[in-house]
Symmetry: C2
Subunit: 418 residues, 2 copies
């Protein structure tokens, strides 16, 4: 078996180089289908080519790294993750998985081993830019709708479709909902990712195997319309205060959440973006309009659907009681996913063979692996321990932990290729 640990210095250099040009003054910014993501893609392409690997964009503008001599028709194991980041995020969320795959390829190339391995660097996994996650893997699977492609980039007047087209994606096929690859060719999809929660640090586990991935529903932009007015003169019973209505909704949902948790239901709930309207708000004006996002995640599709009905019911009740209206944008759904048992067992066995303390844990965050799994491709994930969560600049993956994760993936390639 190949010893990946000796590639630690290469990994360190790659992360440092990419960090340097992705730094935004506060954290790491790699815009989906934009400057930062493309800069990372260009860097990785250059590095891989200097190692004698073949690199090409797939029809959805994701990057594919392979041995130049492997026929494109051969069945392969895919290893990968995404190249973009949230604004002011960290360097490892996504990038670690692409680098892990690339290290496996480089090691095999240098040591003349080869094997049925391809690495994929997905674009557009983060929802922070267009309000939709998993865009690169969705495009590959023929799962982007016209409405998705019409989504506008945060703070800019360009659509997802325009941005994909500018990067050479096959928009005709994508708009037609075609699968852009032959799924029968892909035996397994493997993804290494930093853990984004606090579990592995608490349990002192450098690596873990992922059992399942939470799905979610999202509204990126719900508007609560009430009635603005002078704060001094409208008595309580004549108010239609949009901010109090939204606060009421959040507290009702918080109470439902608390009760569901006590019953053991898997659920998390977040209103990440909330605000009165800067064009008209003032200290002495009753807010007539509040816009907010709402997201719930669960490993259970049934829980998500039931909780969604609860959200709508509470909005109706509040609309009636407070004389406001809730205007919902399109609901965006991501299905929960279960990782393949054989793949999980193989990854666990690889950990055990290296005498690594590890565990099988669920993923709270979503990953491209969820789409691959739900498309019928046997999939598995390895988590690497990480301090301080993700989606912030304080992400702190230890490179030694990372190299252990890469070693596990590399070790698992043999049995999974059999």
């Amino acid at each position: 078996m190949i010893d990946l640990i000796q590639y630690r210095a290469l990994a360190e250099k790659i992360f440092a180089d990419i960090r340097e040009f992705s730094f935004d003054g506060v954290g790491i910014t790699r815009e989906s289908y934009g400057r930062g993501e493309s800069a990372a893609a260009d860097y990785l392409r250059g590095l891989a080519e200097s190692e004698g690997l073949a690199v090409q964009a797939d029809r959805a503008a994701n990057l594919v790294f392979r041995f130049p001599e492997t026929p494109a028709s051969n069945s392969v194991i895919w290893m990968g993750s995404h190249m973009d980041s949230v604004p002011q995020g960290g360097n490892y969320d996504g990038l670690a998985g692409v680098v892990a795959g690339l290290l496996c390829l480089v090691a095999r190339r240098r040591e003349g081993v080869g094997g049925p391995l391809e690495v994929i660097g997905f674009r557009g996994e983060e929802s922070a830019w267009f309000g939709k996650a998993y865009m690169g893997s969705s495009a590959l699977l023929g799962k982007l709708s016209e409405a998705d492609l019409a989504l506008r980039r945060r703070g800019a007047d360009e659509s997802l479709g325009d941005c994909m087209q500018a990067l050479g994606a096959d928009m005709t096929a994508i708009r037609a909902g075609e699968r852009l690859f032959d799924p029968a060719r892909v035996r397994t999809y493997l993804e290494l990712h930093i853990e984004q929660g606090p579990v592995m640090v608490a349990r002192d586990l450098p690596v873990a195997v992922v059992s399942s991935i939470r799905g979610n529903f999202r509204h990126n932009h719900i508007v609560c319309e009430g009635e603005s007015g002078h704060s001094g003169v409208v008595p309580r019973w004549l108010r239609h205060d949009a901010m109090f209505a939204v606060a009421d909704l959040l507290m009702r949902l918080d109470e439902h959440w608390r009760m569901l948790q006590e019953r053991g239901t898997d659920l998390v709930l977040t209103a990440g973006i909330v605000g009165t309207d800067p064009a008209e708000h003032a200290v002495s004006r009753i807010p007539g309009r509040v816009a907010f996002s709402l997201e719930a995640r669960s490993r259970s599709t049934d829980t998500l659907e039931a909780f969604y009905q609860l959200v709508r019911a509470e909005c109706s009740a509040i609309a009636h009681e407070r004389g406001v209206a809730f205007d919902f944008d399109r609901r965006v759904l991501s299905a929960p996913a279960t990782m393949n048992t054989r793949v999980c067992d193989t990854l666990s066995a690889a950990c055990a063979a290296r005498e690594l303390a590890h565990d099988v844990i669920p993923s709270g965050a979503g990953h491209d692996a969820a789409l691959m799994a739900n498309a019928g491709i046997p999939s598995g994930m390895v988590f690497v321990r990480n301090q301080n969560g993700s989606h912030n600049p304080r992400e702190a993956m230890d490179l030694d932990d990372f190299m252990l994760g890469v070693q596990v993936l590399s070790d698992a390639l043999e049995p999974l290729s059999a």
Copy 2:
């Protein structure tokens, strides 16, 4: 007695002219100590001078209109209001009172009546621009602190002190907290204002006499600091969600408010500005920071103080329960005020003499008259009926109602001068 109703066409022209250059595309914008307010001041000065009136700025840059032959030492009745507006507000909030006074002066001038009348056009009454209200009357009364003068204009990097200085105010005296006029010279302060609430429309009253004015406490910028994190991976019991904490606070205060109302306590409560941090918020990020304003108003100083203690107590409880911190900026206080009984009776008698349906009602909104009253100047206010509230472009004062209000003020001048 002078018949003011024949000056309706002049009133109409003044409002129309000022509306034209104050229109911002949506509503009326007259920035305190800024462009719009100064444009209105310049217009009113030109109009008054063309009628043979004397116009000069006082030492706080407010505008004073008078008969040129009246010695400046004579005791007078002041009539006035303010010239600024909120952003995207209406044309009548403030301006109506200045125009009312000016019409009384013009009528007396044209008809050779004279009398102990001066009209004052205050600057800077609206809190929307600097986060503080009654700046022009406060300056005149020596009640602006260094902290007040350091307040920055909404969306601009200029302080209140700089803006006042640029308009020629006597900053040395203002910083020293001097009274810039001799209060013994002012027998009475009268202010006409549109009603900003729904009471007079509901009761079908064209004019009303104001009994008292609500005071308030305000925090313009409270920050709730929690802990941001990936929305999918932090379970409920490990969250320090700043948005849920603020929603919790608003709902607790809403419940206190409801109970106090049931006991007959005079109170209104508003969080006019609330928002997650645009520099870091995202649909999939737990909000780590929410900034908000909080304002309560009451006719009772005791109620304001008791409710303030409740706000702080609930913030402490929520900070403890949810693991967040509330960081308060300076509390801004405006004292409630009671109008002078003799002035109120005189205004009521003037209404009765014209057989006008009227009533004596409290003012929910604050006015410069509150500061004059609390400075010991016998003060009174006339409200004019107004549809759709104020601080919005849909303000709708009927000019006939306005002229009735002006007539009442004019009629009251004789008995109040005696």
